[in-house]
Symmetry: C2
Subunit: 343 residues, 2 copies
């Protein structure tokens, strides 16, 4: 795996885009964070008028051995059931993808279940759920590499210039919390939240599981080693997808806590990926806001979402479209004959 | 003027909607603030599956006598120029209305300028700019009533079941700040911000103007009296529009600081309007966040916008559509065959 990811920074070009933004018929800065988004999208595409086409919302699904430890409010089979629900059009992400005109693909990275063929389903199964990371590495090195490669290959195959990340996997907020603790060094209670809504006893089990896993895999400190030992097949595939998308200069729209785990691993491998990422929302999940701060990024939305599936990424999508359209379609003071402020 | 606004609260119906939300294939509460929005929209429409149709984005435009005091970074003629820009399709709100499929109407409530007829322009001019409120009431009682009636009549004429509020008026953040200070009792510095971006000297002039106006119109304490003395024609028309929309059980999507002033006046007249209002965003304008807190409402977005025009309302619109579609289209645990958590 070798990703040649170009840095997006280009001070001369950025200044030119900023001048175009400032000539639009509005007070300087009045579109707030949309203006920063305009600049980011222009830099990613190296175009003064960036445009988004054929956006792909990809849901990476897998099961987790640690789910057997009672760390989730839901049973393991819900992962496979929700994959079917997504494909049937009944999940939240199915509805939002229809609303926002996003093409939805579900990738079976390691679900403990079998699926009928479906035009929106990609089979990239590397396991039937990970091993319980309290006892063994979640993924072998080979499985982890295979999942990363699958995510990378998928993105290369998909058309369009924007990737929206989603995921599904009972137990995966436990894996993401373990990765957060390992990659940031933050204490476990700051990283472990209630996920889909475990009760206090479940939360205690979840914290204990993460503590045990961190001790068991004390040597797994490099991002990819941590990913294999503590992560999951969907997180690994997302990591590969993020790296491939950035290498192709595509916009990556990051969903919540678990998607952030994949981005953090990818950024650990190649810090240049971060400027390709738009962080869609701050999840209500414990740890997410702090992890985003640590990555020095600011999410667009703050709606107390904690569903995953790519729901936050889909909800933020119209803001990216707006940024492009405003930059392309708004009149300038000159073209509209509007008097600029006296300077 | 008498508005029969029905309270939206209905505990039995709300419990039924909440049960429907909780049966959707997601952990309880996982869609965060969208779930509260689902419930609000259902209550407004008194339908278990609310639906939005023919949304109307109305920009209320007017000039302000106080603009002559150097309280804005822009000259007075910019109001008329921006009205023309909106109608020509080059303003931010024009672009966003196109993107979001919102029908855009611009209402001349009191612009100091003349316009060619345009299918999206409504003439409801009650003055050519208000009087300078440091010297006289901004509007006479008759003008204020006329503007309120015009806003009300306009909404009755428009189709659809959602009204998105926008405004344009050089100087109108000064008027809105004066209304905030009067209606909330908060000190002037907490109410007065930089609007379109005045410098420190302009900010000082703006504060002084508001202080003078408050002293000059010390008797104007009731909401409608304050509206006439301190407000403006577009704020008065918006007030009438909000009251009429709530009376027709329509959703009102509130934009920023100036739209909030109109809602605050309307709520002073009829507190039942507030549950019909969805607050789209917290503006970067000083005072807005605090005013929203005072009204005990929470905005959806926080993007440092400070443009007005209805831009924030338009940007939040997809969230309302999502709330309706999720409630309508998401599968339930039963219909999708997904195992709910053990309880």
């Amino acid at each position: 795996m070798s990703f040649a990811i170009e840095p997006v920074a280009d001070a001369v070009f950025a200044a030119r885009v900023q001048r175009a933004i400032d000539r639009k018929t509005k007070p300087p800065g009045a579109l707030g964070r949309l203006e920063a988004l305009m600049l980011q999208l222009a830099l990613i595409q190296r175009r003064e008028r960036p445009a988004l086409h054929e956006p792909q919302l990809v849901v990476f699904a897998a099961d987790h051995g640690v789910a057997a430890q009672g760390v989730s409010a839901y049973r393991r089979e819900v992962t496979a059931q929700m994959v079917r629900n997504m494909l049937a059009g009944g999940a939240a992400v199915s509805v939002l993808a229809r609303q926002m005109d996003l093409r939805l693909t579900v990738v079976d990275c390691g679900v403990d279940g079998d699926f009928d063929p479906h035009p929106q389903l990609v089979d990239a199964k590397v396991c039937r759920g990970t091993s319980d990371f309290m006892a063994a590495p979640a993924l072998t090195g080979a499985q982890c590499r295979q999942a990363i490669d699958a995510g990378e290959a998928l993105v290369r195959r998909l058309p369009g210039n924007a990737l929206l990340l989603g995921e599904m996997g009972i137990g995966n907020s436990t894996a993401a919390a373990a990765l957060m603790a390992r990659l940031t060094g933050y204490p476990v209670p700051a990283c472990v939240g209630r996920g889909t809504g475990v009760d206090d006893a479940g939360l205690a089990r979840k914290r204990a599981a993460v503590e045990r896993a961190l001790a068991r895999h004390a040597e797994a400190r490099e991002p990819l080693a941590a990913l294999a030992a503590l992560g999951g097949a969907e997180i690994a595939a997302m990591t590969g997808a993020v790296l491939a998308a950035a290498a192709a200069r595509r916009v990556v729209v990051v969903d919540g806590f678990i998607a952030t785990a994949a981005v953090a691993v990818a950024a650990g491998v190649a810090p240049e990926v971060l400027p390709y990422c738009v962080f869609s929302h701050a999840s209500a999940e414990t740890g997410h806001a702090r992890w985003l701060e640590r990555l020095r990024v600011r999410p667009l939305l703050d709606l107390d979402l904690r569903l995953g599936e790519g729901s936050g990424a889909a909800l933020a999508w119209p803001l990216l479209v707006a940024a492009c359209r405003l930059l392309d379609e708004m009149a300038s003071f000159e073209s509209a004959g509007v008097a600029d402020r006296a300077r």
